[in-house]
Amino acid sequence: MPTSLAILPRRRQPATPLQRTLGVGLVFGVIGVYLAAVGLLPMLNKRSVIVDTIGLGDATMIAIGLGAGAMAARHAHTRGGATLHGLLAGAVAGAMAAALAVVMQLVSLQSIFIQLSPALFTMLTLGLGLAGGAAVLIGGGAAAGLAGALLRDSPPGGRRIVLAGLGTVVVAGVFQELIQLVLQNAGALTTSASEFFYTWEGLSQQGAAAIFVIAAIIAGLNAMVQRRAAGRVAASERRVRLRRLLRAGILLLLLVCFPLLAGSYIGQVLMLVGLYILMGMGLNLEVGLAGLLDLGFVAFFAVGAYTTALLTADSAHALAALSYWEAMPIAVLLSICVGVIFGIPVLGVRGDYLAVATMGLGEIVRVIVTSDFAAPLLGGAQGVLQIPKPRIGATVLATPVALFYLTLAASAVAAYVAWRLENSRLGRAWMALRDDEDVAQALGVNLIRSKLLAYGLGAAFAGLGGSIFAVMLSSVYPSSFQLLISINVLALIIVGGMGSLPGVVVGSLALIGLPELLREFGEYRYLFYGAVLVIMMRLKPEGLWPSEVRRRELHAGDEAEALDAGADLLPAGQHASSAAE
């Protein structure tokens, strides 16, 4: 064999459709086996979707079968082929689960994989014994795969209706506790609705069926309305804006009314969400608008919290005994000062280097607070205790719900300020700096002032958040101000949509609120958290509620590349027409 051939890349035979389908089935099967082996499936099954019928773990297995079928159907050319491939892929995935059950029956692996428990075996085999269980797994997998393939091939209208129905049932089942609580607190009518859909343990079978039907009907109507709108000329800009405003309004209304109905636990969760919204809006000024990637953001939060603590607390470290309303503005002002000082050493640092530098600055603040050197002033590791709750007249804002409303009010003020800033001269200067520092300066933007203002104003938001945080806990400890907080805030504005105010709200709800509701899953929550981040960045890099500019950027990308490639090779007249497309 001539040696030169060895240098050529080996060209792989293209996979046949059958091979591909088997491959898809195997991949989904491995996902299922993995989830079972780490103990996630039995854990999920502790929450039921429909009482005594389907647990969340079972639902996950069904979803795996559906996914395998849908993926496999992608490659088929004919409808018959698609269903066949879906069936096969689902069966293969089911067979993998069955194989796991067989292995568990034959050898005890529990000394190595502690999660391969008898409970898992029972769950996999549905308590039917090995033979019966394996048959059900393979058969069920095939059925789910078939359903997945059919769903994929069905017209989008129908698919959306089914998926909306299923999704709503899952949400209604998983969050049954919360939903029941809200319904029962809301009034007589909703109480009886709650009794219709739910037993005290969770979603009943009749309730699930009813919810599926209702959700499907709503989705169907919605699709019809949309189709009719699309039939007319594309929705006018005003309509789009109106719809967006409506969405934002509904979200806000929910935020305002929810804790009243849902009680103090939800109040607590939402208050945390509110604090992250505050910080998110601040960091959004720095990262989203000015393009300053700041990982030391928690430092400003700490400054706000400690200032409030030291000025109001009834403890040995207290510097004064101000009321909360006097201490809060001072905390915010001090945060601004720290933000500006913080910005000075990193003025000339850009991009990734800035992230590392600010991370260092944030850590410095934390280390100083923990140090023995500052202990006489700041209380060291013991922190500052006995911070009084704020009071309005005679009322003390002591309950989580009351403090939530304080957070909400602060967020509303902050959102207004952020919104005005975004559309101000300063906001435009930030955006110009973010895109091109040199050009911005050449157009008259004062680099130093604008950057320091970004740090200072961003810090103001975090300081306000920290101030509320201090009264929420009635105490502050240095261990509360970890790097993880900075990272969380950054993650939530990325997931929500960089540079977008509603995005901050949506991002906090999704990344801070949701994990709190899944608290019983313990450490697994962070598995979801990580997976959600990865999936988001793959599927929707612009975020859940992107800003106008960012949406444009990501949608214009492909078009721009195409134009760049050919544009200037064409004579002037010709690319006018190509660009107009």
Binding site: R428, L443, G444, V445, L447, A567, A576
Partner: protein
């Protein structure tokens, strides 16, 4: 006295001396060009003038003031505005937003609107593209945006860095036509170009630069006829 006077400036990147004593003079209302090969120091000279770099030695005087004490944004506000190399428009903003950014130093809303109208008359193509994202425009159109953006700052002198770079020959013609139009409206132009033939043909005065030094200067036509220039740049 010349509007812009560059007096023996030395600029360093760390220890490397990029400009080794450059002197130039730009008379008000003229087109002055600075030509030379890659890495000769043309862009460095422009960056020093616009305040993005600071000379270690020598002085730059503009309208009777020494620029050394001013930051880049202040120099821009004084009417010395740069059209950067490679256009560097704000790619994710629309054409209109780019123009608004250009008027950052201007306060008078009505005047801004008039200026914008003037620019859209000068570049009719941009009127069609007003709401389009600037990054999706062709290279030639992006150059128009960059030029119009700079003009929105109401410059007294425009510093243009390689406006012909990467454009088709036809587009290059248009760009130079625009430069002449802008100049005829009273704006002084300092043009840095690798395309020496074209640049010298529209310039009143030319300077030839090589490895950080001015090696030749004279009127545009003079330099075009110069044997050394012909050999080095015009082939």
């Amino acid at each position: 006295m010349a509007l812009l006077e560059i007096d023996d400036i030395h600029v360093f990147y760390d220890k490397i001396e990029a400009l080794k004593g450059v002197s130039m003079s730009v008379e008000e209302g003229r087109i002055v060009t600075l030509v030379g090969g890659n890495g000769a120091g043309k862009s460095t000279t422009l960056r020093a003038v616009s305040g993005l770099l600071h000379p270690r030695q020598g002085a730059i005087r503009y309208a009777g003031e020494t620029l050394g004490q001013y930051g880049a944004h202040e120099i821009a506000a004084m009417g010395l505005v740069q059209v950067p190399e490679g256009r560097r428009i704000f790619g994710r903003l629309t054409v209109n937003e780019n123009l608004e950014m250009g008027a950052f130093t201007q306060k008078n809303r009505q005047q801004i609107a008039e200026d914008r109208e003037r620019m859209l008359t000068l570049f009719p193509r941009l009127r069609e593209r007003l709401r389009q994202v600037a990054g999706t425009l062709s290279g030639g159109e992006q150059q128009m945006v960059a030029t119009a953006r700079a003009m929105m700052a109401r410059p007294r002198a425009l510093l243009m860095d390689e406006p012909s770079m990467g454009l088709s020959p036809m587009m290059v013609e248009q760009v130079f036509e625009t430069i002449r139009t802008i100049n005829a409206q009273g704006v002084t132009v300092l043009l840095v170009e690798q395309n020496a033939l074209l640049a010298l043909s529209i310039a009143d005065t030319g300077y030839v630069m090589e490895s950080g030094r001015i090696v030749l200067s004279g009127s545009g036509p003079e330099l075009l006829d110069d044997e050394r220039v012909r050999r080095a740049y015009l082939g």
